[in-house]
Amino acid sequence: MATDRTAGLDTRATPGSSGAGEPPHELARAPLQRPIESELDAPLPSKRMTVNLGPSHPAMHGVTRAVVELDGENIVEMKLDIGFLHRGFEKSCENVTWTQVFPYTDRLNYVSSIMNNVGFALAVEKLARLDVPERAKWLRVATSEIHRICDHLTLIGAMGMELGAMTVFLYCIEARDLLWDRLAELCGARLTSNYARIGGVARDTPDGWIEKTRRSLERTRELLDEVDGLLTRNRIFMDRTLGTGKVTREDAIDLGFTGPCLRASGEPFDIRKASPYLTYDRVDFDVPVGSNGDNFDRYLMRVEETRQSLHILEQCWKQMEPGEIIVADFKYALPPKPLVYGTIEGVMAHFKLIMEGIQVPAGEAYSYTEAANGELGFYVVSDGGGRPYKLGLRAPGWPMLAALPHMTRGALLSDLVPTFDSINMIGGEVEQ
């Protein structure tokens, strides 16, 4: 039933996008024909409706365009069109020195940026065969866990807000703000921390920081308990999240899920237990595993993992000893300022590191850590120079986003919202 109204009309909902492969414009298609047994029983002829959940949409997940084909209120097919936040991370990183890559990695998963920093640092240290001092390892673990808590709090808050529970959002943001204040004292920035360096971390904790952080974490625990009480046994929340967005264990593995979403589907795989890195073999924590693989399970995973992270942090504060925070090798770490200003070798080492970058030996390595959302992998190729030759990022949210059409097939349109929330797609890392 193509009419003249479509002539000259740009029927792509988003000009300039590669399109979601969506079906042609509604006016150009004939309505569905169904056989009619008797006139009284004849169903009303219906057409499928295509709804565009555009790239600028209120759920603050970054920019993803979803073209949803609806039959009434049920989603028949959903197609995704991404790339609206592609910022050229890989290409930018090929043109800066190894240390200058850290701010770019910050902005990948911007709610838990220290984990990106640490992941990248571990990849380069694997290639350079560097071993990091003890205190640096503990600091990396502690700050990673703090940012894991921030990530989970953001997800719980956003999920609550989008299902109508505005208060939960405010409580989670309050808790996140407290932790960001502590991290601002440590790293210099609330959000994009730029904390890890190749060979260690950037700076040591200020005086009294650990005590303040302990108090902030106590307050976080209180807020988490309140949020838990508000949401977990909440009738509306449970109605909307139980049974929606189900993914079976086999499907989850086949689709490439890792992290909390995989564990919610029943597969107990956590990189911190399977291949421990840094000091995760010296802390004791449980790995929660879900059973249903639906949105409620994914939400519960986040709550439980936050509690486990709080437990890990208590052990970190007890076990952390004073010491060096970066390797003493001036080929990788900047010399301390008295040496830079006082000795020729210090000046030369400083100059070479800043101007040419760290000379990482040639080769390639893939290193993986357990970020808040799953396996965060960095595939690093070096040609022996001061700049990366290739820096590939394995975003934890990538397979979950790719599997969204699978998760929402046959579901109601309103189930799309908690499903999209619970997979924790962060635009910065998925679209690099």
Partner: protein
């Protein structure tokens, strides 16, 4: 454990899998011939002793100046055996077509679309071989080494704005 996997692979596919090596940090890697990659991956997934059921990361690298120019890298994980393996497939520039492994692991399909979008390597047997992140009107493949860093292709007519000083070096560096 992964070393045993590589050795078994070399034994089973002596003509397809060549040059196994142990990379830095103990990664077990091997090169695989381009035409046989799907067969090798299917064997890795279905063989009871191996069971590489998850493909966490598939990417491509552009070694400009070398021949073959591209390389597609498959990082694989076996959850039951907690083993990882890396397969590298050399792809020449003139014949940048590789069999797709999206029928082996469904999660591989977006990775292959990314490789096509950024490097121009096509995958046969892929259900939906289209660009993923860049827009249709974009000409070229950005992550290739000969694509300029600042090669912007704007979609809208940009307003006249006085440009700020961006520092030394040509505007289209790299």
């Amino acid at each position: 454990m992964s070393k045993a996997v590589i050795d078994a692979l070399v034994g089973r596919f002596p003509d397809a899998v060549y040059e196994p090596y142990v990379g830095v940090g103990g990664d077990d890697c091997a090169f695989v011939r381009k035409e046989r990659i799907e067969e090798v991956c299917r064997h890795l997934k279905t063989e009871p002793a191996m069971r590489f059921d998850l493909a966490p990361y598939i990417t491509a690298v552009d070694y400009l100046g070398q021949d073959p120019r591209f390389e597609v890298v498959y990082n694989l994980l076996s959850i039951p055996n907690n083993a990882r393996v890396r397969l590298r497939v050399k792809v020449p520039e003139g014949d940048a077509v590789v069999p797709s492994v999206s029928s082996v692991w469904r999660g591989a399909d977006w990775f292959e679309r990314y490789c096509f979008d950024m490097y121009g390597i096509r995958f046969t047997g892929h259900p939906d071989m289209r660009r993923l992140l860049m827009y249709d009107e974009f000409v070229g493949h950005p992550l290739r080494k000969d694509y300029p860093l600042r090669g912007r292709q704007p979609l809208v007519v940009e307003r006249e704005v006085r440009d700020i000083y961006r520092g030394p070096g040509p505007a289209t560096r790299d």
